[in-house]
Amino acid sequence: MRIDLKVNGDQKSWECTPGDTLLALLRREGLFGAKFGGCDKAECGACAVLFDGRPVNSCGMLAAQADGHQIETIEGLGEHPDQGWKKTDGLHPLQQAFVETGAIQCGYCTPAMILAAKSLLDKTLQPSEDQVRDAISGVLCRCTGYEKPVQAILRAAAQMRGETVTPITEMPQSISPDWQVDHQRGDENGTGISPVSPTVKTRIMPRIWTVPQSPVRSRVGKAEIKVDAIKLVQGKPAFTSDLEKRGLLIGKILHSPIAHGRIKSIDTSRAKALPGVAAVLTWKDLPRVVYSTAGQSDPIPGPLDAFSLDNKVRFVGDRIAFVAAETEEIAQKALNLIDVEFETLPCIIDSRESMKAGAVQIHDEEEFVNFADSNPKRNLAAEIRIDIGDVGKGFMEADKVYETEYVVPKVQQAHIEPHVVMTYWDEDDRLVIRTSTQVPFHVRRILAPVLGLPVKRIRVIKPRVGGGFGGKQEILIEDVAAHLTIATKRPVIVEYDRDEEFTASRSRHPMRVRMKTGVKRDGTITANEMYALSDTGAYGCHALTVAGNTGHKAMGLYVGDGEYRKQPNIRFYADVVYTNTPPAGAFRGYGVPQGYWPLDRHIEMIARDLGIDPIEFRLKNAIRAGEIHPFSTAWSEGREPRPEIVHTVGLEECVRQGKAAIGWDQKFGNPAWHTVDNRPHLRRGIGIATVMQGTAIPYLDMGGASIKMNDDGSFNLLVGATDIGTGSDTVLAQMAAEVLGVPIDDILVYSSDTDFTPFDVGAYASSTTYISGTATVRAAEIVAERIRLRAARMISEQGGGSVEADEILLEERRAIAPDGRSVTLSDVGHDSLHKTDQEQIMGVASYVSPSSPPPFAAQFAEVTVDTQTGAVTVDKLVMAVDSGVIVNPITASGQIEGGMAQALGYAVCEEMLYDELGMARERDLVDYHIFRADEMPKLETIFVQTYEPSHPFGVKAVAEIPMDGVAPAVGNAILDACGANLTANPATPERIWRALHEG
C-alpha cells in the first residue's frame, strides 16, 4: 500500500505493507534518528518521533496509521552549521543545549529525548522542571540519570525565550577545602530557574574539591564538549544497525523453551523450504569448537564451556538453531517451522542445589576445558580460596563475632541499544564484523577458531555503541551473524529484541554471601570473612573474575586498625556454580556491588550493635594511603599476584564533603528529622556506604594509541579503546590535546577498528582513562617531540639565534621558543609533509599498568519509609568520589549520575527471578522497571580530587564505582528510618515489611 506523509516538512509518498511499523518505514527510508530499542510494548521510547507534534513511539504504531499526518524526526531539527561553502541554520537550541551540557552519553535515546522536549517547548517556553521530567518520561535512558538532559531542556527553553545563559566553560567548579554546603542555592526551587535572576542556571557542574598539588592544565580538567556529541545529537547513522547493505539478510535465533535437555532430533526441512529463507543452521552444520563467550584477554580466565550451537540446551533461551531470511517476518516464520524433539533433563534453578550429591551435571560435554579449580562434575565453574593473615587467630582475639547471610539479585544491564551485529565478506574475502561491542579485539581473537578463519581474515568494526555496561563485554551474537554470512555469502544482521535481552543475554551474577566479622569493643576489626556462592547460570563466562572482584574490591577496603592494619586477617572464599538459568556475565561494577551490599550492611549492623558511630567505625578500619592493598598479595584474576601500594585515598574527605552536602550532622540521630508532620506512618532515614573500586587490571590490561599529524596542524588519534557512551574518546582527546597544545577539536578521534586502530583490551574494568589515557599521552609525547625538533629548526631559520627542541613550548596551536618566536603547528605539519626532510610525524605507544589504583567514594542516601506498607521512597542520593584528577567534569559527573541511577534500581526495584522450570519473570522493561525521568530522586556529585602518581595526569577510574554504594546506603537509610534490617536487595516493599515484622 502507499501512504502519504509529511516528513520534516516534505510531503512524501511511500510504499509499505499493512503491518509495517512507522519505525521500520522511517529507518528503511534512511531516517535513522529513530532507534530500535527491541521492546515489545513500546516501552523504551528510543524510537520516538513527533506525530502531529506529539511524541509517539514509532515502533508501536503502524506506518499506515501515519498516513495523512505530519511526522518530525531528529533529522528535521538542525544540522551542523558549517558544511563547506554551504552554511546552514545550525543546530536547534535543544540540540545545542544537549551538546553543551553533557546531556548525551551513548546518544542512543538522545534524538527521542530531544523530540519529546521539542513537543513541550512548542507549547511553552516556561516549563517547570516537573514538566520537563514529565515530557521525557516516555524515553528511558540508562546512561545519564536524566540530570543533564533535564538541565539541557531548561537551558534551551531559556535561550528560546531570549534569556542569557551562562557559558558552560565559565561555570565555577571548585570548592575550597573548608567548603560547606550552601542550602540557599537559588536554583533549587524545583524549577531549575532562579527566582531572582532572569538568567537560568544550568546545574550540570559537579562540585570539585582539589588537593593543593593538582596542577592547573589547559585541556585536562575542562568541561570540553564530547567529540561525538554533534553527530549523535543529529541522529546520524552512527550505530551498528544504521548501516545499509545491499542484499542484507535478517538473522534470527531459535531459543530453547526448556531449561535443560538434549536435542533428540531436529528437522529443518520445512523451514528451509519456506520461500525467502537463505539458511538454517543447527549443531549438525557447524564445527564443534569449544570456547568462552567472555570478552577477556588470553588466556580466558575461566572454563571453556560454550559452542555456537550444541546438541544440548542448558537454559530457557539457549540456542537451538540459526535462520537467515530475506525479511524478519520470513525469518520468524522459519523459526516456527523448525521441529525439535527434546529429551528433557532435570534442571537446577537454585544455586544451593548445584553442588549437592546427585545433582544433574549441566556440563557433561567431553570438550569442556577446565580453568584453575573448575569442576564440571560438581557443577563448579570456579572456586576461590583466599586467606590473608591468620583469620582464625583474628576471630579468637575478637570480643564479638557477627555472622549474617545476605542475598544479592541477578540484574540486567538494560542498555537501550540491544545487542546487534552485522557481518559481511569484503572485496578481499575478509569477514567484516560490525558490532556493538565493548571488546572488538577480543571478538576477533575469540571468534577466529570458532569460525575457522585466521585472525588476519577478520576485521571487527565498533561503531558508536548505545550503552554496554558490561553486557557487551561478551561475544554474544557475533558468531551467529558470522556463521550465517559464511553459510549464505551474504551480509547478515542479527539484532536482539528486548525479550532476548532478558532471556538469552547476560546479567549480573546473583550471589548468596555469608559474612563473619570479628571486632574488638573499641571497633577494631580483628578478622573479616566472606563466603560467596555465586550463580553463573548455564555458562561460566566471567565466573571466576567477577567473584574474585567481589572479594578483592570489597573485602580489601577494611583492613582493621592498629596492629591489625599492619597484618590484616581477611578470608574470601567463593564457589561459582552452574544452574539452568541464563548465564551471568560482566555488569558495571563487575562483582563489586555484590560484595558491598553484604559488607556494608554488615558493617552498619555491627557499628550500631557496638554503639559506635557508623562513619567512625568505617574510617577507623578502612585502608589508608601508603598501605598495601591486602588482596594484591593474594589474588590477581587467576594470575600471579604482585603487591601494590595504594598511593592515594580520599575517603575521609569524601565522607566530609558528602556529609556536608546531605546535611548528615543535622539529620543523623535527630529524632525530629525522622518524623513527617501529620503522617505518622512515614519515617525518614539517612544512610552511608563507603566503597572502593579498582582502576584496570594490573599487568594485564593493555591499551594502545596512535597519533599522526596532518598538514593543517590537526591530529588523528586512533585508539582501540571503545567509547560505549562513557565519553572516553573525549577524555583521550583532551589528554592528547594537553600534550600537543591544541584545542580538542584539532584531535580527530577514531575508535575502534581492528584493522586500523592499535590493540586495546576494550571498555571494561574502569581502565580506559587510566590505561588507554596513558598510552595516548605517551603517543602524544612522541609526536610532540618530533614537532619540537622540527619547530626548533624552523624557528632557528627565522633568524635571531638557534633554539633547542627541548626549549619549545607547545601551546595554543603554536610551537613557541622562550624568546617568544614561534611557528604554528599548521606550519610544522605542512613543512613535515611537503617541504623539508619530509616525514609523517606520528607516534604509537601502549601501556600496561603495574598497579590498579583504587578510587574511593562515600555514598549517601536519604529515604522515606512507609512503615505500614514497607514502601520506600529514595529522596536524595549524594556521592562524593575520589577518582583522582577529573579530566572532564561534565562527562565524569555524567558517569556518576548515570551510575547512581542504575544503582538505585539495584537498590529498590531491579531483579530477575525464575520459576521452578527456569522461566523468566522479567522479559521486558515494564516488568523490569528501570527509573524514569519523572521519578528520580535528587542527585548530587562531588569530586574529591587526589593526584594519583602512577598516571601522567593523576587520574583514577570513575565509571564503575557509582554502582557500589547506593544499595547499601539505601539499606542503611531504611534501617535508620524504621529499624528494618534487610539482608536481601532490592528493598521491595514486601521485603521491608517482612523485615519490620520479623525483626
Binding site: 511524541p55 521525557i136 506512618h681 526495584c909 520459576d915 516488568d927 521519578e935 516493599p989
Partner: protein, 248 residues
Amino acid sequence: MIVEYHRPATISQALELLSRKDPKSLPLGGGSTLSRDKRSDFAVVDLQALGLDTIQVNSEFVEIGATARIQGIVEDTNSPLWLKVACNREMGRNMREMSTIAGFVMGATGRSPLAIALLAADLQVSVLPTNDKLTFLQVLSERANIQQPWVISQVMVDRTVNLKYEFIARSPEDLPVIGIALAKWPTGRIRASVGGFGNSPSLAYDGNNPAAVTQAVETTLIGSGDRWASEEYRQSIAPAIVQRLLAD
C-alpha cells in the same frame, strides 16, 4: 501478521469491516502492538477517522470518546484531578500520547493504576453496534470473548465521584504490587477496587457501609499471591491503606 489496513470514515463502515470473518478484523486505536503478532493473519480497522476523540461534559458525566488519547484526558480541563493523576501514573508521556481510552480499557491489566481507579469510579462504557451501556467491570469480565463487530464508542466518568487511591510499588512510577482505590458518591455510596495482581483489577466493595470496606478488600485479596507479592503481604497491609483512604 497484519495483512490489511483499513481506515473507515464512518462507524457503519467500521462495523461492516469488523464483521468480516475472513480475514479476521480487529479494531485499532492509537498505539499498537498488534504488529508483533505473527501467529495468524488478520486485518486491522483503524478508528482514527471516526471522530470519536472528543471529551465533553454534561451535568453527570465526563464523556470521553473512544479514541481520545490518555494525554488528552490529562490536558482536558473537564477531567477530574484524580483522573489526571491516575492517567499520569499509568504510563510515560509517549504512551499517553499514543494510547486511546478504549484501547486502554480493552488492554488494561490487574497491575494498571488507571484501571484500578476507573473500576472504583464505576466507569460506564458505551458499545456499538448495540448501543449497550456496560460497566467497566462487565467489560473486564467479557473482553476476552468479544465477538466482532464490537466497538467502544465512548466511556463515561461520573463527575460526582470523589476518588482516592494508593499504589504500593517498588518505585514511584513502577506498576503497583497492590493498589486500592476508594470512590465515594454524595449519596453515600462507596466502591473499592483492588489491583496489583491478576489479569484485571477486582471490585472489592460496592455499598454504603464504610466499616465493611476493609473486610471486603481483605476477602478480595484471598488467593492474590503471585510472583510479585504474597497474599499474606497484600492482606496484611491492605487494612492500613483502606483506613487512610477512608480517613482522607
